[in-house]
Each structure stands twice: as C-alpha cells, then as structure tokens.
Amino acid sequence: MLKAALLSLLAFLGLVRGFDLAALPAPAGAQNGASATERQALRALTSDVSKGGVTIEGERLFTVGKDLPWNAIAKRIDNLARERGAKPVALPGADPGKKLAQAWRAGDGRGVMVAMVRTPGGGAVAYFGVRFTGD
C-alpha cells in the first residue's frame, strides 16, 4: 500500500511514467479506430476471457494489417508493462491462439487489457484501461 501511494505521488509529480492507456505506443502501422461491430466483439472478448473480472474505463482502438502477428502486439505491451512494474494477469477464460487477449495489473488495482479480433484485412485491436473488479 505504501508502495502504491509512493508510486502515485511520483506519478503525480511527473517523475514516474505510469503504465496506463495513454502511455502505450500504437501497434506498428496501425490505423486509429475500429468499426462498431469490431468494438463490440473486442468488448465481448474482454468480458469472456476475464469472466467479468474487469471493468473497462477507457479504450483505444486500432486496425492492423495481416503482417503484424498477435504476438508482436502483445509482446511489446508485455515488455513495457514489466518495465513499469505492472504484472501479467492470468485470465480465467484464456484459450491461447483462439482468444487473443492479455492483461497486466499495476499497483493501484487498475491496468490494461489488450485484445484482438481477426478481420479479413488483419485485425481489430483494443487497448482497454481496466479496473480489476473484486478489489
């Protein structure tokens, strides 16, 4: 708790780059935005893999091409998360390769979930700022 408070203070003072939605780089070559259908599918995926264990508090949506694999998207965020002290979360509904979603949790009970649904042109990707319910 003390660590979380200290991090919050340092973040407030601008001395710590937080692990939050705004700080994440977009996937390489991505276009901003996704269709309403894709957005709905991404939100449904998030709810499914987390078994309702997260509340979405913010979102950034992207469209990516076929040449960018899911692993490249998730790995970059994973490396940033670890660098900034966030920890990966085991998702209860995980199904590798079929449900493309990963989540990381920072010290304040909030975090980020990245999800992707496949589209004919490649994929729709969401960065969701989430709060982990049950805290």
Binding site: P25, G29, P69, R76, D78, E83, R84, D95, G97
Partner: protein, 318 residues
C-alpha cells in the same frame, strides 16, 4: 497429388496417390471410407487433409517455415527453426506419417532426454491452425509446410493431462513463455550448452567478444542449432524512475531468436544475424523495426546493453 473440386459441401478433397498405392483409405466426396478402426468397434470416418507430402516444401525443412503468430512459444519455434536450419534431416527423422490412420508421429524427448513418441491427429492439426500456431500454413491457407504445426501440436499434447478433451490445457502450458534449453531438450534430447559473455580478470572486451563470437561460430560450423535468448537492456536508476528505456539493441526483449550466423563486418565488428520467429521485426519498438524476418546486430551492442542473456547451442548432428 491430385486435387479435385469438392462435392455439395464445396470442400476441396485431396486424393493421395501414395495412400492409394499403399492400400489405405482416403476420403472421396459423398463416399467416405473409414480409415480409423477404434478398438474393434464401429470405424470412424475421417478426412485426411494433411499427409506426408504436406510436411515440407520443395527445399525441405527450413527456418522460413516458422511463423509465430498467436502462441507465446518463441522458445520452442525458434529452436525448431534452428534445428531445421542446421540439421534438416533431424526434422525429417522426427516426424512420420501413417497413411492408415492419418496420424503423424513425433519423436520428442522428456525432461530426462528420453525419447517420447507423440501421435498427432488431423483434428489436432486443424486445431493448431485455428490457434494460428507456428507454421506458415495458417497464414497462407495452404496445406503445408505443416511440419512446425505438427511438432508444436505434439509439444502441446505432452503438456496436456487429458488430450481427449482438447489441447487447451497443453497450449496454456506452452504458450506463455518457456526456456530455450527446455525446448532444445524436447526437440533434440540434449539441453545444449549456454554461451554467455564473460571477461577474464585481465581480459579486454575485444578479446572476450572474439572468444564469444568464436564459440558461436564454431557451434554453427559444426552443424549445431543455435538460438539467442534476449532480455531487457540495462537501465540506469534514473531511467527506471522516469520509465525511460535506455540504450536499445533493436531486438525484442524476453524473446528467443534463431541464430543464422556471426561474422565480422568491414569495421572489424562482430555482427550476429538472427531470425525472428515472428517472420517480421515490426513492432519491436527499439528503433530498428523492419519487415524483414532477419536482422544483424553488433555483438558488442548486445553485450554492452546487457540485452543478450545467452546463446544456446544444441547438439552436433548424430
């Protein structure tokens, strides 16, 4: 291999001439010949989509057949790529196909290096493709080269306590990271040797780099498969506080690459050529993104930044 347009279902069926000559059954539109007799009971019909002819391309098993898409098993598929590059016959000898059953058999090794035979069914292969596994087949829509999918499926299967209910458990076990030496042992039966940077007490950096590069070069020259395990580069305390990334080497952190070679460039610097199992180096985010699957990185940079944990050199050809 003849291909004929499918029947009412619109599904292309494949006639396997080898299977016909071997006397095994194949699937013909509208007239399924059962090929899998389960314990003497009623035989189950089966579609045989993948067979021995789909395992490799015209040039045999190669690292370029690897494309890691949606499973987090870089340590495994990068090692497959390294073995394919250095010892393609080892890949050929690892996988066999039974035309009678439509199953593939993969020879992996357990944690003690003992041989471990694993059957992979057509359905399990289709499942691997549905998961966008480590082959190119799920990207191209073609039926091959399928050998990475076969090997990866087998690896997931040995980590699954009940394959009869699907391989989600097995993929959960293998697709969230792993260790290069574990993969080397599973594939070759030998954990291999780690080559790490070190400086002797009075040794210069140049000498230590020469020694390290020499070890990697010798391993490759001797036909040994080599991978590179990368980790986050060193950061100063201020970098950590500010969330800055420090000096970057251009490679993905916490990843495993297939090593293709080491050589000295025109300036006399050792360069390491590596292949990303992603088949691309886009979205690495370290200032050297490229669509090419391969990259060259100065060995000195890897050492100075601390971004290289170790090379893993597998066994020589048997």
């Amino acid at each position: 291999m003849l291909e004929a347009a499918g029947a009412a279902a619109g599904v292309a069926s494949r006639f396997n001439l080898d299977s016909l000559l071997a006397g095994s059954a194949v699937s013909i539109p509208g007239f399924r010949i059962p090929i899998d007799g389960m314990g003497g009971g009623v035989a189950k019909p089966a579609e045989v989509r993948f067979d021995a002819a789909d395992l490799y391309g015209a040039q045999g098993p190669q690292a370029a057949d690897i494309r890691q898409d949606a499973l987090g098993d870089c340590y495994f598929v990068a090692t497959l790529g390294a073995v394919a590059r250095q010892q393609p016959d080892a890949i050929r000898n690892m996988i066999s196909f039974d035309a009678r059953t439509g199953n593939f058999t993969v020879q992996l090794h357990d944690g003690d290096g003992n041989p471990q035979s694993v059957q992979v069914t057509q359905a399990e292969l289709e499942d691997n493709l549905a998961r966008s596994g480590g082959s190119t087949a799920d990207n191209t829509g073609l039926d091959g080269p399928i050998w990475p999918a076969v090997a990866e499926t087998a690896y997931a299967k040995v980590h699954d306590s009940n394959p009869a209910d699907g391989l989600a458990e097995g993929y959960n076990a293998i697709a969230n990271g792993g260790w290069p030496q574990d993969a080397m042992q599973a594939i070759t039966g030998d954990r291999g040797d780690e080559i790490r940077y070190s400086e002797g007490f009075f040794e210069s950096e140049n000498s230590a780099l020469d020694r390290m590069a020499g070890q990697v070069d010798a391993a490759l020259s001797n036909g040994r498969p080599v991978t590179l395990w990368t980790v986050p580069e060193n950061r100063s305390l201020w970098d950590k506080i500010r969330g800055n990334e420090g000096t970057q080497d251009g490679l993905v952190d916490n990843h495993v690459y297939t090593v293709e070679g080491v050589h000295k460039n025109a300036d006399g610097e050792w360069m390491v050529s590596v292949r990303n199992p992603w088949s691309t180096n886009m979205n690495v985010g370290e200032g050297h993104d490229t669509a090419s699957a391969t990259m060259e990185v100065p060995l000195r940079t890897l050492v100075d930044t601390g971004g290289a944990e170790a090379f893993t050199a597998g066994p020589a050809p048997r």
